[in-house]
Symmetry: C2
């Protein structure tokens, strides 16, 4: 039987995670729920984030899913446990924070290299990344910094992904980390859309998109046939699973996202 | 008895309207409701905007108010009639669109001067400004243009009100209107905070903040003693009314707004 994977995001950013899931989890089908009626989560209070996330998770559970991926970093940071409590122990719930931490640590060029998490303000405030890094590799937090980049999401949603104003804003956020290079973890699902701009703004840094690691862990949890190197593997040319799209406010889906609603 | 005026906004932008109300409506008290749990409205669908606005209006009505000012342009554009229906005919409900239109027309240097409304995307989509201009002065719409400026609100809320990136973004939005100068109407409550930047970006244009006109019309509707020239009149030194603050998500009130919560 075909596996059905629910993907929850606060808006359209989770499409970057969905793209990786489709490449790695061969043959699975997907139900994507974007809470566009309440986006952005990144500027909301923990209480609001939890209430909204649990409501969305409960909606997704009604669609007969075999696993729930919380693609939104803000929701993963604040609401993973409340979601798990709400959906019950039989449904695997996978967030993006822990897989992202594992991907970042795997990319470290040397043990004492700087680690930088780029995220929304709410994610940074949550402390979820430092907790997860410390749990995964005790002591590593001495090399860890976090940077909130609140204007990047509105600019990306405006379609300014190759605009000099976005580049200038990026420089404002990450310019100060120009010393010793290390690993920068994209802790917000929108950021992979401008990964090349991060790489240009942070010469020498390894910029990590956690989506592939998330997808690998989902495939493992569901014991799905897993495409190991989706970027180069010919099996990505096989037919990929169906996607059911679901938005709490369809009119609020930004124009640029429509072009990405059928990722290749 | 002291008049109590309810001021509804999607977030903190309505503080610019509240400031004018306190200057003009001598002696009134205020209840300000900012729907920070659901901000921004400017990227939402009409249905969402109406549902949220009506819910907030109903909350404000429970606070024993004598008039309801819908300070948010997006809510005024889409939800004024639903709000009026919800609160009933005995409570005056005053939006910002019609007063803004009257203020813009009063500022016209000559009848055929260009008119430009600067607003959120949802406000522009609503067509509320063209309708109001046409109702107020038939035929004037041939001189009217509207420009959505979606990135200004997040930048202002980020506290970048004197940042070169905000100036560059502003130029991106209004640079094309550099020909014959006319009247630019600030159709979003955040924009008065950067009025001087608009004036610098649009040389020769009259930049109109509708808040004073809104306040004058509220004073008239409630037959309140009205301070005619609040900017110069000594009576502004008199004690001003109390403000009750109310936010649907207090944690989501941006830092910069806290400095403005007790306007002078």
């Amino acid at each position: 039987m075909t596996a059905r994977i629910g993907v929850f995001d606060s808006g359209v950013g989770g499409i970057t995670v969905l793209e990786a899931l489709r490449k790695v989890c061969a043959g699975a089908d997907f139900v994507y729920l974007g809470d566009t009626a309440h986006v952005p989560y990144g500027t909301k209070s923990p209480e609001q984030i939890r209430t909204l996330s649990v409501a969305c998770a409960k909606q997704l559970v009604t669609r007969d899913i075999d696993a729930l991926v919380v693609a939104c970093n803000t929701a993963s940071s604040w609401a993973l446990e409340p979601i798990r409590e709400a959906v019950g122990p039989s449904l695997p719930v996978i967030g993006v924070v822990e897989p992202g931490v594992r991907a970042a640590l795997a990319a470290l060029p040397r043990p004492e290299a700087p680690l930088l998490v780029l995220a929304t303000r709410a994610t940074v405030c949550s402390g979820a990344y430092p907790r997860a890094f410390e749990a995964e590799q005790p002591g590593v937090n001495q090399y860890l910094k976090e940077q909130a980049c609140p204007l990047l999401v509105p600019m990306i949603e405006e379609g300014w992904t190759d605009h000099p104003i976005l580049e200038a804003t990026l420089k404002e956020y990450v310019g100060r980390y120009s010393g010793q290079p290390g690993v920068a973890l994209l802790g917000c699902t929108h950021y992979p859309w401008i990964q090349s701009l991060f790489e240009r703004a942070m010469p020498g840094w390894v910029v990590v998109n956690p989506a592939l690691q998330v997808a690998r862990e989902v495939a493992e949890r569901l014991s799905l046939p897993k495409v190991e190197n989706p970027e180069t593997n010919a099996s990505t040319l096989l037919p990929q699973g169906n996607i059911e799209w679901w938005f709490t406010d369809l009119d609020a889906v930004p124009q640029f996202a429509f072009d990405r609603l059928t990722p290749g």
